[in-house]
Symmetry: C2
Amino acid sequence: MSLLTVGSVAFDAIETPFGKTDKIIGGAGTYIALSSSYFTKDQKIVSVVGEDFPNETLEDLQKRGIDIEGIQVKKGEKTFFWSGKYHNDMNTRDTLVTELNVLGEFDPVIPAAYQGVEYLMLGNLTPAVQKQVIERLDDRPKLIAMDTMNFWMDVAWDDLMETIKMVDVLIINDEEARQLSKEYSLKKAASVIMGMGPKYLIIKKGEHGALLFGENENVFFAPALPLEEVFDPTGAGDTFAGGFIGYLAKTDDISFENMKRAVITGSAMASFCVEKFGTERIENLSQDEIYNRIMEFVDLASFEIKKELV
Amino acid sequence: MSLLTVGSVAFDAIETPFGKTDKIIGGAGTYIALSSSYFTKDQKIVSVVGEDFPNETLEDLQKRGIDIEGIQVKKGEKTFFWSGKYHNDMNTRDTLVTELNVLGEFDPVIPAAYQGVEYLMLGNLTPAVQKQVIERLDDRPKLIAMDTMNFWMDVAWDDLMETIKMVDVLIINDEEARQLSKEYSLKKAASVIMGMGPKYLIIKKGEHGALLFGENENVFFAPALPLEEVFDPTGAGDTFAGGFIGYLAKTDDISFENMKRAVITGSAMASFCVEKFGTERIENLSQDEIYNRIMEFVDLASFEIKKELV
């Protein structure tokens, strides 16, 4: 099935305890599109870059079967740039630089060829822009998933509420779920957030895995692979989202059982992402590597228990 | 199979955001024995209390099939007392009072009838006392599991190392695993700790579940039930240990596959424990309640994924 990803295509400069990078390619849209490209070949992206963005990177996306007609290239302007430094525990980071540049006045354009798209992934962006994308699609996609972050809860609460109301799946981390719901218990938080509109909620917990909440009190606890080393967490959440939505678009099944598989797929993709700086690790995966990694998750979580032994 | 539990039988006074208790019955030994009593009826306990300890509580343990011959009652002395106050997040607490009393000079006595015991659970205690118990058993039990805490890493490192070397399963939390191994990555921590002796390591992560590490790089990620409310976390870790060792003693199978089931059983028991103050919730569970709770864990963690869909 066809998938539309909306999100930043950008430059990042990253410092971790293992080293630092100059400006490298980043952005939520980039990570999502790269990750989902392993699952669906009918993929489109809406984004905006400046004149300084390398044409080869856009061509590379195209070679992966991603339709880049929706990426606006703004003459005389600069690409979004983020720079951050991770602390030793890799769970917290300081933002050193945020230059919005072209993202500051991003007016998403939906090419005619994108209309009729069946799956929509809204990467983390201004909630009003995420909403515009939904409104500019002639037909509502079969499934709309959305990522956001605490920053928008602080500065754009009303817009965020309007956008959240329009989506099917919200994907956030545990800290964001607590801030959004004003509840500490993630179970209570899920119930409050699903009251805001989404039928499904994914709470990402980093090294502790992810929770998927659905209708009828359905809950799924996805494990995370215990890793020797997290080299660079940048983009792991977006890579998760890409694997999740890519798997759904590939299988075209939005039952809770299949959403579980999509969460595992997203988790497997994210576990690759953190192994190297930036997008490096998720640029050249083989289908076998992905399958084997997913099987590691199966081994990690599987157990059988029989009534007579309880 | 027969199970010997060693651990404090004590008084606690607990304050949580939901209320506070006067002196109630607590202690690692109490929680472990109560929890495992649902799985094995051939259970013995070694502990020490003061003259102030209520006889009815000892009789109650006996009624549950627990052999209490190994609980020394010290005339003219007082029972161990701990008082603590939990913070709002329920993950951290302040110790208000610790009165060692009879535990200060605990010299564990193994009744003759206890010899030949097959499973041994060493609750959190001075490492030298845990070691004495192992040494005072004529035959090494089939499986020895041990709990400990960061306090002993600070004040009794050498004794701790000697005791850890003698056990098969070490059960600690994530913070303790990091302190013990001096590694942040739990995967690296597990490898360091298993180098100290134990063939199995369980790292408890509270609301994030538990990890079981075994030989040949075996890892199992057990979920935790997302709870609306944690009423009182006191004893949850001991209740986990009791469910774990009780299940192993019942099934007498120490394969990695069965250890997974034991971890799930322990997690289910711990999820009951936190629902009420102290031991209240785990005093009167039915086998059906336990079975249904374990099935909630099965639902929570189960997924199926097929190669052709990756």
